[in-house]
């Protein structure tokens, strides 16, 4: 829309016509206070805090509902405005308890800030305050009724933002109250509860301490914590979560997770896992000492030096006697890019094996290969918020990648985006969809074929062929379509869908996966047949030539366990993964294999290990991760636990104990060879390519082999597509990266399909989720609710 110019407090401001005055002022750096206004939600004008004086208008106007107009003259801070705001505060404080010293929101409370600013210390009200006991609506949501100022933010957040509608407003006037959707008289325990997704967005939106979080309430004060913004370890969206940490006798404990500054890729949103499920870090079952299996079969705590010596000498002996190909390595979906890269480099160059894999939760190899030769075709998570049209095939973002679902709902609500959903299940996002077609079970292949023009495939794609044909026509008529693909589509059928999408002008793609660095693990080459950047093993690449990688593709995850069962696997090195439980491996098949496990807990896999090394989790280390979409973000160290070490450090230490050339593994110091003045760039054949690259990019060499940035430098140098912007990374912003895979030599789909979706719900998160007490409580809460519904139905 056309711009209009108006004056606020004597300052000329220009903004597009239709902008709300409060937003235009915010953009211009003029703050207008408001309790009920929340950007992106419907307007309420309930609190009257944002009143301003507009010339030629008779009374004070609410800035949150007034669109800017040409020539408007506005005053935001005059004595009469201050008086009006003060009067509003006096009314709000009429029944608001002054329990700020114990209130969770104390120090972070908008009502407190406003009272401080406008000084409504005197009250005209002598009536006693009407107290009500606090209510526990769920394990994570508590409600303190007298603190509520009835701004309706939570009601709108839950209904409009989350599409859950678990909160409402009941009664009228001064007896109005926020009410949850399970009223007390219908609840078996006679207490009101919420039946919802437990995302905690209502708590986040609450300007006061009326809604408080079960994990944080009454634990500490905001100013007693250090706040560290990092990336959530759970799903593939990679939201920024700010962890509040506090010193303890054995490290640094995470007390709170929230979306404090809303500066991340997730904008306003954070789900229950990002908000509450950090507590695995404080779980009492955590291993804090290395464990080595004794001849009597017991795991005994030993010192780090003893454990690492044992691992190093044993791995060296097995490599030298039985060959590198007898050793397998399994990586993780939750380690940083630097760790994943280092792990595959360690496997390939130190152990001399391509037997490396990870739990794959989406087929990124086929995804990258299908898009080979196309640029600008991969979508960022940011695109889900702005795309004019979206096609979602497979997946269930509401449960598996909640930020994606939030963005899609917001895009539909605010931008009237057209959402097309094709799924074999009636997923919740169909409620926002312009068109929904329910596919037959396993009908994705037929659906992809049908979209591409194979009309014969209609029958096996969906039962309703008319709906299917209308759906295809609508999708084909779109431009700049964002195509989100669930992990159900793999190999040839994934390629089929992408090939169809490539016929749509401006279409962009994303493949959804399950964990924070599932995409990074694939990008970094935790694969038996692909080097980092989807360079096939055996084909010429900088990495292959530089590090003399074995030419034969290695064993994949299942082949490694088969090999172990035949007694051919001498050693297995597992970093942050629980394949024994995930793939249902028979423990007996591993009896002749030397197993080293790096993990936080004694998982099913760790319980079988010969050496267990206590690992730090993602919240206790620094580095970078890549979300499902290919958005790279920085991970910052928040928590700390005495006794544990990062996977990066452990890999380096083990390599050192094996006797590897450390400068080759981690490029630190001034390069491999001293430069005596003879070298003349990379062409001389003598120079250290990394040192030359660092000089050319004006970067300093890293001083320590434990510095993950040394590996980040190498990733940037050697992994195609990882053209990292340092400022963007280090300032905590996201940046979108696209893999630049070479066109595949073999047909896509001939690789063995090893994708095993984690199928996590809102309240599970793989093995890690089992050690989160809060997720356990939420599962129990959910189960009880289902039992109640069942009982009521009977």
């Amino acid at each position: 829309m056309a711009d209009v110019t108006f004056t606020v407090d004597g300052k000329q401001i220009t903004a597009p016509a239709g902008t709300l005055l409060i937003e235009a002022c915010k953009t211009a750096g003029i703050e207008i206070p408001a309790f009920c206004y929340y950007p992106g939600l419907s307007l309420q004008a309930a609190c009257r805090m944002c009143v301003v004086r507009i010339e030629k208008m008779p009374k004070l106007q609410t800035a949150c509902t007034t669109p800017v107009a040409e020539g408007m003259i506005v005053y935001t801070e005059t004595p009469d405005i201050a008086q009006a705001r003060k009067a509003t505060l006096q009314l709000l404080l009429g029944n608001h308890p002054l329990d700020c010293p114990v209130c969770d929101a104390g120090g972070e409370c908008e009502l407190q800030d406003m009272t401080f600013k406008y000084g409504a210390a005197d009250s005209f009200y002598a009536e006693p305050k009407n107290h009500r006991e606090e209510q526990k609506w769920s394990p994570v949501v508590y409600f303190d009724r007298p603190r509520c100022i009835l701004c309706y933010r939570c009601v709108r957040m839950c209904g409009e933002g989350m599409d859950v509608f678990a909160l409402g407003i009941q009664n009228r006037g001064s007896s109005s109250v926020i009410a949850p959707n399970v009223p007390a008289h219908m609840s078996p325990d006679d207490l009101a509860h919420v039946d919802c997704e437990q995302c905690g967005m209502c708590i986040d939106a609450c300007p006061v301490g009326a809604l408080t979080s079960g994990t944080y309430r009454y634990k500490t004060r905001p100013w007693e914590m250090n706040h560290v913004a990092t990336i959530c370890t759970h799903c593939g969206d990679g939201c920024k979560t700010t962890l509040g940490v506090r010193s303890t006798s054995d490290g640094s404990e995470i007390v709170r997770g929230d979306n404090r500054d809303k500066s991340g890729i997730n904008g306003d949103f954070l789900c229950n896992k990002g908000r509450y499920a950090f507590d695995f870090a404080n779980h009492e079952d955590r291993i804090t000492q290395p464990l080595v299996r004794q001849p009597n079969g017991e795991l005994k705590p030993v010192s780090w030096e003893v454990a690492l010596d044992h691992v190093g000498s044993k791995l060296r002996a097995l490599r030298d006697t039985r060959g590198g190909k007898s050793i397998g390595v399994i990586g993780s979906n939750r380690i940083t890019n630097e760790e994943a890269y280092l792990l595959q480099k360690f496997a390939r160059t130190v152990l001399g094996t391509n037997n490396i894999d990870h739990h794959r939760t989406a087929d990124y190899v086929s995804f990258a290969q299908s898009l080979a030769g196309h640029t600008g075709r991969t979508a960022s998570l940011n695109d889900t918020l702005k795309a004019p049209a979206i096609l979602l095939v497979g997946g269930d973002p509401t449960n598996q990648s909640p930020a994606t679902a939030w963005n899609l709902r917001t895009d539909v609500r605010l931008n009237r985006a057209r959402l097309y959903v094709a799924n074999s299940e009636e997923i919740k996002l169909r409620r926002q969809a312009k068109a929904f077609v329910q596919l037959a079970p396993f009908g994705y292949n037929a659906f992809a074929a049908y979209l591409a023009g194979d009309n014969a495939a209609a029958a096996s794609a969906a039962s309703d062929s008319n709906a299917l044909s209308a759906f295809r026509d609508a999708v084909k008529a779109e431009e700049n379509l964002l195509i989100l693909i669930g992990s159900e589509l793999r190999g040839a059928e994934l390629k089929k869908l992408i090939d169809f999408g490539l016929t749509i002008p401006g279409a962009k793609f994303a493949l959804l996966s399950d964990y924070v660095n599932s995409r990074g693990a694939a990008d970094m080459g935790l694969l038996p047949d692909m080097l980092p950047g989807y360079m096939p093993v055996g084909s010429p690449s900088d990495l292959a030539t530089e590090y003399a990688v074995p030419n034969e593709p290695g064993l994949d995850m299942l082949e490694m366990f088969d090999s172990a069962g035949r007694g051919n696997l001498s050693a297995l090195y597992i970093v942050g993964s629980n394949p024994v439980a995930r793939y249902g491996i028979d423990p007996a098949s591993l009896k002749d294999t030397f197993i080293v496990v790096q993990d936080m807990f004694l998982t099913e896999t760790a319980a079988l290990a010969d050496v267990v090394l206590p690992a730090a989790n993602l919240y206790e280390k620094s580095g970078s991760v890549t979300n499902s979409y290919g958005d790279l973000q920085q991970v910052n160290k928040a928590g700390d636990r005495a006794g544990v070490r990062s996977d990066f450090e452990m890999i380096v230490r083990i390599a050192d104990k094996i006797g590897a050339d450390m400068r080759k593994l981690v490029p630190f110091g001034k390069g491999l060879r001293a430069d005596m003045g003879q070298s003349r760039g990379a062409q001389s054949g003598e120079a250290d390519r990394h040192a030359v690259w660092l000089t050319a990019n004006n970067l300093e060499p890293r001083l320590s082999p434990f510095d993950a940035f040394a590996i980040l430098d190498e990733i940037q140098r050697l992994v195609p597509g990882y053209n990292i912007l340092r400022l963007q990374l280090l300032s905590g912003n996201d940046q979108h990266l696209s893999p630049v895979a070479p066109t595949p030599l073999v047909q896509i789909g001939t690789r063995r399909d090893q994708v095993l979706p984690a199928n996590d719900s809102l309240f599970t998160s793989g093995t890690l989720g089992r050690f989160s007490t809060m997720l356990g409580d939420l599962q129990q809460n959910e189960a009880q609710r289902l039992i109640q519904i069942q009982t009521a139905a009977d």
């Binding site: 509608f165 678990a166 909160l167 409402g168 407003i169 009941q170 009664n171 009228r172 009410a179 949850p180 959707n181 009223p183 008289h185 219908m186």
Partner: protein, 169 residues
């Protein structure tokens, strides 16, 4: 939406509801009339009625409860057979509305929003019922009684007790 298989309402009311949801541009506009009709038939808005109305309008039950709790004429608990609503708004107040209300309280032995133990009468103090010209006035169910005096009220109550009062719905 609209038609419901196992309705808790009478066939006539169910048919009326089926029609009601079709006549508004937004079907949820039918919510308030539905609540009123449901209350007239059942005597109050029960949980089952809330559930069925939510189903008919494709709303969550919470939204129905939000509206239901806003209006004081909608009840979630049964009232007596005859609901006595005494007006104490300005015209009635000036002409002795409170005297009538006090008299009712005394004779029936119940207070505002209460029901007699035999379930025959319930009492409510209400705002203007639009009968100012004949104040003080009260409404028993949907039937108006005007120019009241305590004596007239006694006669009225006896009539209703004897089953001779009008029972307009």
């Amino acid at each position: 939406m609209s038609t419901v298989a196992n309705t808790i309402f009478s066939p006539e009311l169910a048919a009326r509801f089926d029609h009601l949801v079709t006549i508004y541009p937004l079907s949820r506009s039918a919510l308030v009339p539905m609540l009123l009709y449901a209350q007239d038939e059942i005597g109050y808005v029960s949980d089952a009625a809330v559930a069925e109305i939510a189903q008919r309008l494709d709303l969550v039950e919470l939204e129905v409860r939000n509206v239901l709790s806003y209006y004081s004429m909608l009840r979630t608990k049964p009232a007596g057979k005859y609901n006595v609503q005494v007006c104490t708004n300005i015209s009635c107040m000036l002409r002795g509305g409170y005297k009538i209300l006090d008299h009712c309280k005394e004779t029936l032995g119940i207070g505002h929003k209460q029901t007699t133990p035999d379930g025959v009468f319930s009492l409510e103090e209400v705002e203007c019922i639009g009968a100012c010209c004949w104040a003080p006035a009260m409404q028993i169910n949907y039937d108006f009684h005007e120019d009241l005096t305590p004596e007239k009220v006694d006669v009225l109550f006896q009539m209703y007790r004897d089953g001779q009062g009008k029972d307009v719905k």
